[in-house]
């Protein structure tokens, strides 16, 4: 599996999907349900997109406040918006 796709990153971003983690989370939440094999990959994709949107929103908030650092308040406000959006 690819551990890192970019060399320019200071940190190594793992592109690996924590499939075990996702399956465990789902099992914990809904023990009576089963999850298919490709399902957790799509779940991972969903999480990625969620985090992506959250990060964009937080960055926008931080830039609006003319802050060079993303602060907790920015993240909180962004989360409110995005969670509402992500409701199925």
């Amino acid at each position: 599996m690819v551990l890192s796709t970019t060399v320019s990153q200071r940190k190594h971003i793992k592109r690996k999907a924590p499939r075990g983690f996702l399956k465990r989370v789902f099992k914990r939440q809904k023990p009576h349900l089963r999850l298919e094999t490709s399902g957790d990959l799509l779940m991972h994709l969903n999480c990625l997109l969620f985090v992506h949107r959250l990060a964009e929103e937080s960055r926008t908030n931080a830039c609006e406040n003319k802050c060079g650092i993303i602060k907790k308040e920015h993240v909180l406000a962004a989360a409110k918006v995005i969670l509402k959006k992500s409701r199925g």
Binding site: F26, L42, L45, V51, H52, G88
Partner: protein, 564 residues
């Protein structure tokens, strides 16, 4: 074929041809050409003593000539320009242009020009068989003469005398071998042919003279050592995932030549050396006695190794100190170190030098040479230090963390020398300053965890994974509290996600959540639209391995993977 009428004492192709041409059917049909033919005949008569050897070919030529001359009477007459292509004219040209030389006849005075050329390459090739030496001599002059001699090779004739001398010397032998070749073994002919080709070669073309290959005596001890090293190193740890630079090759090439240019270090970290030595003595004590009847032959190998280590260390120092990558390497090489048989008590100096080299990365060749000289003076056992030190480093460094930084380059480089791929991932985050810190600060063995709170809280680990992705996407510095906030949001998000999936599965009357449910969820979230399909998103954000699993693709044999 006895020939009394011809001017030459010996019958040759040339003379025979000439006779043929002279006596040929005068009613050859080309009246207009008769003048030309006559002129050509006159030319033919002027060169004298021309010999060609293959009499069979002469007879064949004669016969063919006659047949052709008769046969071509009719149509050749008509076409004017074809007259030059007639066998008669061809033969005349041959006679004109062929040199006044014959093939290798033992007592003949002149030899054909191309023959030495031909014989030499052929003799070079067929240095084993004397028969083969003879055959090309016979054939090429007749076959090559028309081709080669037409341009007029004046150069070859200059060397005829020289070749002749060589041939005279070699030919009497080869003549004998010719008779014996059938009956005798190859050995006799081998001896003969070895003599003949060399002389003409060296005399005629000194530049092509083959020098005997310079052979070094094979150092069996070093060879065995290298064998062992490579065999040990053939089980590399599975850390070499990302770095694919071929460090091994330049290292291997450099190792023998690097012996003298050693970057040398300042001797810092003496206390580490002592610790290392003490540990090493423990582990190597029992082995010493077994291996004290040592292998002085491996001195050079070891030294070369160390030198290569030292040499290449500064080059690769920036990438060496990947701590994360180093550790698994240590574990992997530690196994090898156990198997290494060369250990010595007094490896301290080498270890010190090596580590100092590693930590300081200063270049003081004198100091290092002094160290190595001191080493060498101590004896055979210590000469194994370099080999043992690299092997020992991992074992000792695992338990003694200060050795971490310096030992890593050593055994890393040792592994490289053995032809492995370099282990350290391009961990640019681990800067050179890091090894200095663990050297001085951490004495007890470091309990390394793959991540914060990994063992305690796997749930937290997964969330932190996504939090890191968040900071990556944000591309802005963040507070730690903001990251914790992100993790909380993720937790909530997961809850929502599972609920939605359960609803969708129940709506479809299923108890298993399928990818269709996921797609529906994403559509509802607004991620998947009519413009942007799920596959597009998959391709954008997921790595190839997952893409292959998710997007059905047609393969050969009328198969689709994944199956639908």
């Amino acid at each position: 074929m006895a020939d009394s009428g011809s001017p030459d004492s010996e019958p040759t192709t040339r003379t025979l041809l000439r006779r043929v041409l002279d006596t040929a059917d005068p009613s050859t049909p080309r009246r207009p050409r008769s003048a030309r033919a006559g002129a050509q005949r006159a030319l033919l008569e002027t060169p004298s003593s021309r010999r060609l050897s293959s009499q069979t070919k002469t007879t064949a030529r004669r016969r063919s000539q006659r047949i052709r001359s008769i046969g071509k009477l009719a149509h050749v007459q008509a076409s004017g320009y074809l007259e030059e292509q007639t066998p008669r004219t061809l033969l005349k040209n041959i006679l004109l242009t062929a040199p006044e030389s014959s093939i290798v006849m033992p007592k003949s005075v002149v030899k054909p020009g191309p023959v030495p050329q031909v014989v030499q390459p052929s003799s070079r090739e067929s240095s084993r068989g004397s028969l083969e030496l003879q055959l090309p001599e016979l054939e090429p002059p007749t076959t090559l003469a028309p081709g080669l001699l037409a341009p007029g090779r004046r150069k070859q004739r200059l060397r005829l005398s020289v070749f002749q001398e060589g041939m005279d010397k070699g030919l009497p032998l080869s003549q004998e071998s010719r008779g014996n070749a059938d009956a005798s073994s190859l050995t006799s002919s081998l001896n003969l042919t070895f003599a003949t080709p060399l002389q003409p070669q060296s005399v005629q073309r000194p530049g092509l003279a083959r020098r005997p290959p310079t052979r070094r005596a094979v150092d069996v001890g070093a060879f065995l050592q290298d064998l062992r090293d490579t065999s040990l190193a053939l089980a590399p740890p599975d850390t070499v995932l990302e770095d694919t630079q071929p460090f091994s090759q330049p290292l291997v090439g450099r190792s023998p030549s690097v012996h003298h240019s050693l970057p040398c270090p300042s001797h810092s970290g003496a206390e580490d050396a002592e610790r290392a030595v003490s540990h090493r003595t423990r582990s190597t004590g029992p082995r010493l006695q077994n291996n004290s009847p040592g292998k002085p032959a491996q001195l050079l190998a070891g030294k070369a190794e160390v030198d290569a280590l030292a040499m290449n260390f500064p080059n690769t120092s920036s990438s060496i100190f990947g701590e994360v990558g180093v550790e698994p390497l240590q574990d992997g090489v530690g196994g090898e170190a156990e198997e290494r048989t060369e250990k010595s008590l007094s490896m301290s100096k080498v270890k010190e030098a090596a580590r100092a080299r590693g930590s300081a990365r200063a270049q003081e060749p004198e100091g290092h040479t002094q160290v190595t000289e001191a080493e060498g003076s101590q004896g055979a056992i210590e000469t194994k230090e370099p080999e043992g030190s690299s092997g020992d480093c991992p074992t000792s460094s695992r338990r003694v963390s200060p050795e971490l930084a310096s030992s890593t380059p050593e055994f890393l480089q040792a592994k490289r020398i053995q032809g492995l791929e370099p282990a350290p991932p391009p961990s640019t985050a681990v800067l050179p300053s890091e090894p200095l810190e663990p050297l001085s600060a951490r004495l007890p063995p470091r309990a390394r965890t793959p991540g914060p709170k990994a063992c305690q809280n796997p749930y937290k680990t997964g969330l932190s994974h996504y939090a890191k992705l968040f900071s990556f996407y944000a591309k802005m510095p963040m507070e730690k509290k903001a990251l914790e906030m992100v993790e909380k949001c993720l937790d909530k998000y997961f809850q929502h996600l599972c609920d939605d999936l359960e609803m969708f599965a129940a709506h479809a009357g299923r108890k298993t959540v399928r990818p269709e449910d996921l797609e529906l969820l994403m559509r509802r979230q607004g991620l998947v639209t009519d413009q942007v399909s799920l596959h597009v998103l998959v391709e954008r954000h997921l790595p190839l391995e997952y893409r292959q699993l998710l997007i059905p693709c047609a393969f050969s044999g009328n198969s689709v993977f994944p199956a639908q």
